[in-house]
């Protein structure tokens, strides 16, 4: 099986975000980059499938800058075989990113049997790339997947929707699967894995190699700014149990008369 995993590199979740002075994006100089947390579930799922299907290969694909290839090296240290990077310092929109991923998959020379990714990247939070990529490759897709079972050619997928309900899909043949937390427990890269990863092939492509140009851009982002700060609220001390009843009664009253939400 040819398994592809699309990964993105994003600022660590603890990052304090500061917009640039001109509002064109955010300050990136002191950011710690990590593999998008949802993509870890996709890499893990690929490795689990590979373990059960001899002769399978896991190819990781990423679009982004070369400054730091952490996400690709991490994926290969976890056990992926090969990586492709479409190099760009531009902030692409979801359509351009999907087109670049499609181009890189085609350049790999392998026909995908399965494409995995995280359900969303935690920086742009678009939840678009896997579905657009599926449409561009004329493949079915299932997103927000928390359950994956493979039985021969048949894959049963559980997609999480509102209220924690699950839609159960059955698919045969190549599919794009966008993974959610809860699907599996991603492994840590072992030290030998990290050493081995350094020798695994990483091919770098340009945007023009994968047929993406500025004419593909659909979304223009500007005016990056911090959300307005709330004025300070009221704080009540209720550590003393005797005081607690009075405080609770006052807060409930304020929710009704001042905030008018109850």
């Amino acid at each position: 099986m040819n398994i592809f995993v699309c990964v993105k590199q994003v600022p660590d979740t603890e990052t304090k975000i500061t917009p640039t002075g001109d509002g064109s994006f955010i300050e990136t100089s002191s950011i710690k980059w990590i593999m998008n947390p949802y993509d870890e579930f996709a890499v893990e799922q690929a490795l689990l499938i590979k373990a059960d299907n001899a002769e399978s290969t896991v190819t990781v694909v990423r679009v982004g800058s070369t400054q730091d290839t952490e996400a690709l090296r991490t994926a290969m240290a976890m056990g992926a075989d090969e990586a492709f990077l479409v190099e760009t310092t531009e902030n692409l929109d979801s359509y351009m990113t999907a087109k670049a991923l499609k181009g890189a998959i085609e350049k790999s020379g392998k026909t995908p049997d399965l494409i995995l990714s995280g359900k969303q990247a935690i920086d742009s939070d678009a939840l678009q790339v896997p579905q657009i990529l599926a449409q561009m490759l004329d493949l079915p897709s299932v997103s927000v997947v928390v359950g994956f079972e493979k039985d021969g050619d048949k894959i049963t997928l559980k997609r999480e929707v509102e209220g924690g309900a699950l839609e159960v899909y059955e698919v045969t043949g190549p599919t794009v699967v966008a993974c959610n937390k809860g699907l599996n427990t991603p492994r840590y890269a072992s030290l030998p894995g990290i050493m081995k990863a350094k020798k695994k092939p990483l091919t770098t492509l340009s945007l023009s190699d994968v047929g993406v140009s500025d004419g593909d851009r659909k979304l223009k982002f500007s005016n990056f700014q911090l959300p307005p700060e709330k004025p300070p609220g009221k704080k009540f001390d209720a550590m003393d149990e005797a005081a607690a009843a009075g405080v609770v009664s006052e807060v409930v009253g304020l929710l009704r008369t001042e905030a008018k939400v109850i």
């Binding site: 939840l127 079915p140 924690g164 159960v168 899909y169």
Partner: protein
């Protein structure tokens, strides 16, 4: 005036409230609505009340259950037959899954999960949260029309004014094409309540809940005030609650009217996911917990004392 189509997602033939939020914000444009299948009479009346000139009801055998391909194919062929400048949907589970595929089918752009938007003349721009709301950006769409937009539920609020439309209902035969990924079964969630992303009130528990059983007191409070129960990442990672309940950057981003944070310290990634809540109540024993910087009403106290008291107090007035 732009020609706008709004996808009115239904649940048991009832159109989801986010549809009305979008219609209200679109007042002044030429608005039509498209639904998959029939809608109940209340929904029909509401769509007209908030400005829908026409309600197109797509019908086809393969449309009884959601499928990304079936819905996208049916809507794409319907949209191609019209001359719409914009197509809107709520950023619900279905909207967020469907619109990227649908827009790509028409080689058009899609701006997702916006918390606000405006039309200045015919020029559209929207507010797009990045990093789960740690920062906001302006988004504009270019390239072939129609342009696609999904809007976060609860972000716009229900329209203050009505702008009556004709609400003419039209049945349309839909072409669904080849569906490779189809739903075989739906497994109900543990909770019958409104989803976190659509909830008006949320009661959330953090690490200080200590175990899964203690969420009982949050559930009791939630039952009293009609809330949905959420959890912080610390609580989910400790196994106190499932990931479907997680609020934050690696969980759900929510904007309810009232958010009650119980024993949540307020890690930056949690605050990102709930800071747009209209009113925030925080209960924590640590007076310096970061959650208090976002709280409208902060109670420094033990949640195991305060939460049951809140429940009793709410019972008196509700």
């Amino acid at each position: 005036m732009a020609n706008v189509l709004v996808f009115g997602e239904t649940s048991n033939q009832s159109v989801k409230p986010v549809t009305y939020e979008i219609l209200g914000k679109l007042a002044g444009q030429n608005i039509e609505v498209v639904t998959i299948g029939d809608i109940d009479s209340d929904s029909q009346a509401n769509l007209a009340k908030y400005g829908a000139a026409k309600i197109h009801k797509l019908k086809g055998d393969a449309l009884d259950k959601y499928s990304p391909e079936g819905y996208a194919n049916a809507l794409a062929s319907f949209i191609k037959g019209g001359s719409y400048d914009f197509v809107f949907s709520g950023a619900t589970s279905t909207g967020k899954d469907l619109f990227p595929r649908l827009s790509a089918q028409l080689e058009a752009g899609c701006a997702s999960d916006l918390t606000n938007f405006i039309f200045e003349g015919d020029n559209f721009s929207g507010t797009k949260p990045f990093f789960a709301g740690k920062c906001l950006a302006k988004v504009e769409i270019q390239g072939p029309k129609p342009h696609f937009v999904t809007v976060r539920p609860n972000a716009l609020g229900m329209p203050a004014n009505e702008s009556a439309g004709a609400g003419e209902a039209i049945d349309v035969n839909a072409e669904t094409g080849n569906i490779r990924a189809a739903i075989k079964e739906i497994i109900k969630g543990a909770s019958e309540k409104v989803d976190l992303t659509e909830a008006n009130i949320i009661v959330s528990g953090g690490r200080a809940m200590k175990n899964a059983e203690n969420f009982k007191i949050l559930n009791e409070l939630a039952d009293t005030i009609g809330a949905t129960v959420g959890a912080s990442r610390a609580a989910v990672d400790s196994g106190y609650a499932p990931h479907s309940m997680q609020v934050g950057q690696t969980g759900k981003t929510v904007s309810p009217t009232l958010y009650i944070a119980c024993g949540i310290s307020g890690a930056i990634q949690h605050l990102a996911g709930m800071r747009t809540s209209k009113v925030i109540v925080a209960i924590n024993t640590d007076p310096d917990a970061p959650i208090f910087t976002k709280a409208d009403y902060g109670i420094v106290g033990d949640l195991f004392t305060i939460v049951p008291m809140l429940n009793e107090e709410f019972k008196k007035i509700l």
